[in-house]
């Protein structure tokens, strides 16, 4: 089989401590050769078969293990008017992701083995990027009866989450964590003490007071995180805190990790750049849970990403139809799209000197892969050839011409952005080529199922 030679790029692979200009040869779905041997092997293959294979000129670009987003809402089944697996996976590929984990708050809730199998089957049929499903922790995400973790695992679930519907009963959370130990599934926690957020539509504080919008205090997030740290210390299992947004939460997680409590955490690109001042004007594309916080929180979340406390950056891609967002602020649904803007927002963070490319690769590839237990997130010889190539200088506009999602509910809509994924390869197969998503990707179904 002919390979793909990625020439002249800056290869960043934190797992192997690599950060230098190196060629990369992908063949037979895996990393075949790195550096000078890559070009040599490519020409040897070409000489042998008369097929020069495919070449990608990555000069001036950064070559990373394929990006993985462990927190996306792809809305199928049930909300296909917001997003479908087809549109969502195309948006993901366009955004530079080679794998995503859809959250189960679909309709019906994805809480059974057949639900997991449906998602994987559809993804295989689409033949684009990896889809690793997340099952619900409790049936219907109602916080009462545990789902069949073992069956979900067999169906392909890589994690469990009641995202959007935090488990109110501490005892249920404890049992879920204890039970999850047999099946090695992390529980992704939506940190919100509903009794404290109390219908809040934005961050509680002076801006909310000015705008007359009900506020949700940081403590609504940190209180639930504190509770679940204690439960994790008691029960074991693995807790992963989703979309961490405020300083107190970062501090609690940092301390828990220092003490050896089995918790990991993520934040979203928007929490690294926007504050609650963005809500002034009542534009509903600034409404999400958790809400945008203060500049002090942004600084703390950035520090958390920089020191690895928040080891993962995930988008919480949450598409909504335009008409659903064209309403009064307090009536609008929470959430913004994120798959297609994550790379430029993270490149901006590198430009601002907050993180390095190594840290980006850890937060968006290696660490997510480790948390969900998939053999990805590195470019070792023989590793599955999921690769993302990013042009950090490329300027583009996030608008109808570039958007693949069915929805456009983003505070960055219409913005000119710098940095974009140019190529994505899944098991060595190009799914994004020169910023264009492959129209009909070759059906390498089994490799995708990986």
């Amino acid at each position: 089989m002919s390979g793909v030679l990625i020439r002249g790029g800056r290869l960043v692979d934190p797992v192997n401590g690599v950060d230098e200009q190196l060629d990369l040869l992908l063949a037979d779905g895996v990393v075949r050769a790195i550096g000078e041997s890559a070009a040599a092997a490519a020409s040897a293959t070409a000489a042998g078969s008369g097929d020069a294979g495919e070449g990608i000129d990555a000069t001036g670009q950064v070559v990373l293990p394929g990006l993985i987003d462990i927190h996306v809402h792809l809305r199928q089944p049930g909300f296909e008017y917001k997003e479908t697996l087809a549109s969502g996976l195309r948006a993901a590929a366009s955004g530079g992701f080679t794998g995503v984990c859809p959250i189960p708050n679909t309709n019906p809730v994805s809480d059974t083995r057949p639900d997991m199998e449906f998602l994987r089957r559809e993804a295989r049929r689409l033949g684009l990027i990896n889809l690793w499903p997340v099952g619900a922790v409790t049936i219907g995400q109602e916080g009462e009866q545990l789902t069949e973790f073992g069956e979900l695992r067999k169906g392909g679930a890589v994690a469990l989450s009641d995202d959007g519907h935090p488990i109110a009963q501490p005892a249920i959370m404890r049992r879920a964590l204890e039970y999850s130990k047999k099946h090695q599934l992390p529980i992704l926690v939506h940190g919100e003490e509903l009794g404290l957020s109390d219908g809040g539509a934005m961050n509680e504080g002076p801006i909310a007071t000015r705008l007359g919008l009900p506020g949700s205090p940081c403590a609504a997030e940190s209180a639930l995180i504190a509770r679940d740290i204690e439960i994790a210390a008691l029960a074991g299992g693995r807790v992963h805190f989703m979309h961490v947004s405020c300083a107190r939460s970062v501090e609690l997680i940092r301390r828990a990790r220092q003490e050896g409590v089995p918790v990991t955490a993520e934040t979203g690109p928007h929490y690294l750049h926007l504050t609650d001042e963005a809500v002034i004007g009542y534009r509903t594309n600034t409404k999400m849970y958790p809400p945008l916080r203060t500049s002090a929180d942004v600084a703390a979340v950035r520090a958390g990403v920089a020191d690895g406390t928040l080891g993962v950056v995930a988008t919480d891609h949450a598409p909504h139809a335009a008409y659903e967002k064209a309403v009064e602020f307090d009536q609008a649904p929470n959430g913004i799209t994120g798959l297609e803007t994550a790379v430029p927002l993270m490149v901006r963070l590198i430009d601002e000197g907050v993180i390095t490319w190594q840290q980006l690769a850890l937060a968006m590839s290696s660490n997510p892969a480790q948390i969900i237990g998939v053999e990805r997130g590195n470019l070792s010889l023989g590793a599955v050839a999921d690769v993302t190539v990013i042009d950090p200088e490329l300027q583009w506009t996030y608008d109808e011409t570039t958007c693949h999602s069915r929805s456009q509910n983003s505070p960055f809509w219409g913005h000119s952005l710098t940095g974009r994924a140019t190529h994505c390869l899944v098991a060595g197969r190009p799914v994004l080529r020169d910023c264009q998503v492959e129209a009909r990707p070759a059906a390498a179904a089994e490799a995708v199922a990986g």
């Binding site: 705008l211 919008l213 309403v327």
Partner: protein
């Protein structure tokens, strides 16, 4: 330090003089034209007092003053908005404000439509924007909107081509109420350095927010006073002082603006009992004795007599509560006049 104080005093005096001059011009112009003054006003919408400058508030108050004179005439009507259509779009129950806007529009010779929508747009199945677009399609020049959601008027201002006047949006602002409160104070006192205390449910009060913005821009000092649970987070950053103990602030207060407890907006208990609230924050005759002799009492109404205000105080000689209602018509005439003409130009 001393220099700064003198400079401030000079600036204050100059400011007061400038305001007085504007007022005279406005009244004179209104007398000449039989309609409001073509004072500098460019805003198509009135959404909040936060977004207005001191001068813009002055323009509205001055125009209101000239219109108030119209209301005392035998024929209480001017042709200023003849041929214009004002639509009252009320998504929350209201008698006073809706009627006040209706009278104001009629005094200006505008046609007025009342659109009373029950419940929120979501419950109704039609979106707020769709409802408003329909009203606009009936050729309304100005939409007056009251809605339970903060920011609703701003949403409409973005989506509609006509003028939008905010008649109360959620707990955000109620700019015409703020204006009429300030107008009522300004008739009696110089606002510069005046100490105004808003008492009661600040958290759920759009009236409080409009008062704070407007009064501070005009040089008054504002204290908000109520149970800590009803003082919203960060209100100090707008510029208001916060007090929990009414009796400790009363001796220095020039104006008491007494707010209603907004039971309909409170989810859960914000204070233990109405009785304790009345004891701690109710304005009784005895409590009022601690205040300055010439203290002015305002209330945006509806009142709960015996809870936040004693009947004797509401009806007593300190009270300007019914004057507020009269002034409300003049202020709303000024607002409708300026916004409608900014939107479409005068009818020729």
């Amino acid at each position: 330090m001393a220099t700064t104080t003198r400079a401030n005093a000079a600036a204050t005096a100059a400011g007061a003089g400038a305001r007085a001059a504007t007022r005279d011009t406005a009244v004179a112009a209104a007398d000449r034209e039989g309609r409001g003054t073509p004072a500098p006003w460019a805003k198509r919408h009135l959404l909040s007092l936060e977004e207005l400058s001191c001068d813009e508030i002055g323009v509205l108050l001055d125009t209101a003053e000239s219109f108030k004179e119209v209301l005392t005439r035998d024929v209480k009507k001017v042709p200023s908005l003849r041929g214009k259509t004002v639509a009252n779009l009320f998504f929350e129950p209201s008698t006073r404000t809706r009627t006040s806007f209706e009278i104001a529009a009629k005094r200006l010779s505008a046609d007025i439509i009342n659109f009373q929508a029950a419940g929120s747009s979501v419950q109704k199945g039609e979106s707020l924007v769709d409802t408003a677009l329909n009203i606009q399609a009936m050729q309304a020049d100005t939409v007056v909107v009251r809605h339970a959601s903060s920011g609703a008027s701003q949403l409409l201002a973005r989506e509609l081509d006509c003028s939008v006047v905010n008649a109360g949006d959620g707990i955000h602002e109620h700019p015409t109420q703020g204006l009429l409160d300030i107008f009522t104070i300004r008739e009696r006192r110089d606002l510069e350095g005046l100490h105004v205390c808003l008492v009661g449910d600040i958290r759920h009060s759009r009236v409080a927010r409009s008062n704070i913005w407007g009064l501070i821009k005009l040089g008054a000092q504002v204290t908000v006073c109520g149970p800590p649970t009803l003082i919203p987070h960060g209100i100090e950053e707008i510029g208001a002082n916060v007090a929990y103990d009414l009796d400790s602030v009363l001796p220095t207060v020039d104006v008491l603006n007494i707010l209603r407890i907004q039971f309909e907006r409170q989810h859960g208990a914000f204070f233990p009992s109405i009785r304790e609230y009345a004891v701690e924050y109710g304005i009784s005759v005895e409590r009022l004795r601690q205040a300055r002799e010439e203290v002015l009492i305002l209330h945006p109404q509806p009142m709960h007599r015996g809870i936040e205000i004693a009947a004797e105080v509401a009806d007593g000689h300190h009270s300007a509560i019914l004057d507020q209602v009269t002034n409300g018509v003049a202020v709303r005439m000024a607002v409708l006049f300026h916004t409608t003409l900014a939107s479409s130009g005068p009818d020729s």
